[in-house]
Symmetry: C2
Subunit: 344 residues, 2 copies
DNA sequence: TTGAAAGCGCTAACAG
DNA sequence: CTGTTAGCGCTTTCAA
C-alpha cells in the first residue's frame, strides 16, 4: 500500500501542539492564533510534506468544495465550454471535475452516480443527459443541479438552466442572408442533437416568417444522404435567380456542404450563401471563411457557475437566517453572428 | 444544509440488522451472507434511496478507486484522448476524473494539488505539465504517475511513459512525399508545444537524412509570421521544378497553409504536397483532403491505463506476496499516415 | 452467518 | 489563544 501518509497528528507532534491547533492553522479560520504557533505549524507541515486528505475533510465538514460537470463529449464546442467552466469555478473558489459520456448512456449514468456518491456540492449537466433512467438517479437527491443546453427538462430537477439562444441567432441568420440578397432558404439539420437542433429549426422558421416578403424555404435532413448528393439536395431548395441562403446545424455540416458545392462548381457566396453554427476554429481558415454563430463560453460559464454559487452561498446564508434562498430560473444567452466570406 | 443523507445505519435499522452487515452486503465481499439477509438489506437500501458516501469509503479503505487525468487543454487531440481514457478506465473498473489546465500554469498546479489531496489511486499527466514547480508538487508523493506525450521528464517521477511515435511518423511522411515526387522539403513548427514539436522536427530531419539522394530542406518558424506571408516563406524552400514537400506541425497549420497557398494560386498538390499531423476531423472535409498522421487514441489509452492498472494490481498482489511489482517503462505507439488529396 | 468495536484523517464546538 | 472531544460514514478485523 501507499507510503503511509503524513497526517495532522504527525504535524502536531512535530510542532509540539495539539492536532486541533494544526487544523486551525491550516484552515486559517476566524480563530485567533499566535504568530509563533502559526509559524511553527507551517514549518512542521512543510518539513514533513504534509498534504491534507480531501476525503477526510469532506467527510467531516459535510461538503466537498467540488463541483461536477457532465458533458456529452469533448468536441470543440463542449471542450471550450469545459475549459471556461474550470476557470470560472476556480475563480469562485471551487474545483471542477469534468466527465464526458462519450455519447455512451451507460458511461453517463455511471459518471452521474459517482458524482452523487462523491457528494459534489453541485452538478452541471447537459440537456441530452436527461433520459428517464438518468433522471431517476438524480431526482430526490439533494444535490443542486444546473442544466445547460436543455430545452425540455423535467420540472423540479434543477435549480436553474442556462441556454444559448440558438433560436434567436438562427432567426437573425435568416435575416442576415435576406439582407445580403437571398430570396430562398434552406436549413440542414442533424438529428443527433435533438433539442439543440429543434431550437435552430424553430429559429430558422421564425426568421422566414418575419421576413418582409414571402419566400421559398426548405428544411433538409442530410443525415442519411451521401455527401456527394448534398449539392443536389441543397440546390433543389433554390428558387429564382437570387442566391440561396443556407443555414446549417453546425460548422461541420456547413463546411462540408460548402466544399461539396464548390466541387460541383456552385459558387459560394455568389450562388449560395452559408451560415454555420459554433464558430469552430476552422471556420476562420477555410475558403471562403465561414460565417458562423459564435457563443461566448466565458459568459455561459459565468452564468452557470454564478447560478450555482448563488444557490450554494444563498443556502448557507439562509441557514444563518441572513438571506432567503437565491432565486434562479432559466436564462438565455445571446449569441453573435460572425460574418465572413461565405455570406459576403 | 443538504437534506440529511441516508447512511448505512439507517439502512441497517430499516432492515433490522447491524450496520456492519449492511456494509458487507453492499460490497459483496467474500463474506458468507444469508440469502434472506441480502434480500432484506437490498430492499431497505432501495426503499430509503441509500447512496454510498464515497468520501467515507475512501477514507476508510485507504483508496479511492479513482484515477485522475491532467490535460493541457480540451482541444481536438486531447479531447479525443480523454474520451478514450474515460472509456478504458471504466472498462478496468476505475473512475476517471479529467482536468484541463487551459494552458494556465496556475490552474494546472491547483488541479494537481487537488488530485493529490483527493488521494487518487493514480495520475495521468501530460509532459508539458512538468515544470519545476509542478514537479516539486509531485515528487515524494506516493501517488503512481503515468506520463504521456512526455519526452523529457525528470527521472523517478513516473512509473511509466507512453508516447506516440511522432518522430517515426514524420520520418515516414518525408519518405511518402519523396515517393510522390517531391525533391525539396519544408517543415513548419509551432513553438507552443515544445517537446512534441521537437519530436516532429527530429523525424523530419531523420526522413531527409534517410532519403536515397541529397535534397534541399528547411525548417520554418511561422509563429510570428503573418498568415499572408506564409506562402512566400514556404515557397522559398522550394528548389527546382519538382513539387515541394511540406510537413506541418499539425493539421491546423497545414490547412491554414494550404488555404493561403491556394489563395495565391499555388496549386496543392501539384506544386506543393502537404502532410499534417493529428488527423483532425476537418482534414477529411477540406479541399483537397488533407493527408495527415493519425493516432489511435484507443490504443494510447489502453496502454496508459494498462500500465497503471498493472502497477496498482501488481502492487497489491506484491503485498500479498503473490507477485513482484509489475515492470513498466517507456512505450512508443506507432502512428498511421492517412493519405488524402493534399499529397496525391 | 452476524455483530461489536476500532479506526481512517479531519472539523468544529466547547472548555479551559 | 490552545486543547479536548465528539463525531462525519464506512470498512474491517475479531468474537460471538
Amino acid at each position: 500500500m501507499r507510503k503511509k501518509q503524513v497526517t495532522i497528528v504527525d504535524v502536531a507532534q512535530e510542532a509540539g501542539v495539539s492536532y486541533a491547533t494544526v487544523s486551525n492553522v491550516l484552515n486559517r479560520r476566524d480563530v485567533p492564533l499566535a504568530e509563533e504557533t502559526i509559524r511553527r505549524v507551517e514549518e512542521a507541515a512543510r518539513r514533513l510534506g504534509y498534504r491534507r486528505n480531501a476525503a477526510a475533510a469532506s467527510l467531516s465538514r459535510q461538503r466537498s468544495n467540488e463541483l461536477g460537470l457532465l458533458l456529452p463529449g469533448f468536441g470543440e464546442y463542449f471542450g471550450r465550454f469545459a475549459e471556461a467552466m474550470e476557470r470560472t469555478a476556480y475563480a469562485h473558489g471551487y474545483h471542477l471535475s469534468v466527465f464526458s459520456s462519450s455519447h455512451h448512456p451507460e458511461l453517463e449514468q455511471r459518471h452521474l452516480e459517482m458524482m452523487l456518491q462523491r457528494r459534489v456540492d453541485g452538478l452541471f449537466c447537459h440537456g441530452l443527459a436527461l433520459s428517464p433512467e438518468t433522471t431517476r438517479l438524480i431526482v430526490g437527491d439533494g444535490t443542486p443541479i444546473v442544466l445547460f443546453n436543455a430545452w425540455d427538462w423535467p420540472p423540479d430537477i434543477a435549480i436553474g438552466v442556462v441556454n444559448p439562444d440558438f433560436r434567436g441567432a438562427c432567426r437573425g441568420a435568416v435575416r442576415h442572408l435576406y439582407d445580403r440578397g437571398c430570396r430562398s432558404f434552406a436549413f440542414a439539420g442533424g438529428l443527433y442533437a435533438r433539442a439543440t437542433g429543434v431550437q435552430r429549426r424553430l429559429g430558422f422558421a421564425d426568421g422566414i416568417a418575419s421576413l418582409p416578403e414571402t419566400v421559398a424555404s426548405a428544411v433538409l435532413e442530410l443525415d442519411n444522404v451521401a455527401h456527394a448528393e448534398w449539392p443536389a439536395c441543397i440546390m433543389a431548395a433554390c428558387a429564382g435567380g437570387e442566391p440561396l441562403g443556407f443555414v446549417a446545424f453546425d460548422d461541420t455540416i456547413a463546411s462540408r456542404a460548402m466544399w461539396r458545392l464548390q466541387e460541383q462548381g456552385i459558387a459560394v457566396p455568389e450562388r449560395v450563401k452559408i451560415v454555420g453554427v459554433n464558430n469552430d476554429s476552422f471556420a476562420a481558415h477555410c475558403h471562403p471563411g465561414l460565417t458562423s454563430i459564435a457563443i461566448s463560453h466565458e459568459r455561459h460559464a459565468e452564468l452557470a457557475i454564478g447560478m450555482m454559487v448563488a444557490h450554494l452561498e444563498g443556502r448557507t446564508a439562509a441557514e444563518a437566517g441572513t438571506l432567503d434562498a437565491a432565486p434562479s430560473g432559466e436564462r438565455t444567452m445571446p449569441l453573435e453572428l460572425i460574418v465572413r466570406g461565405s455570406s459576403a
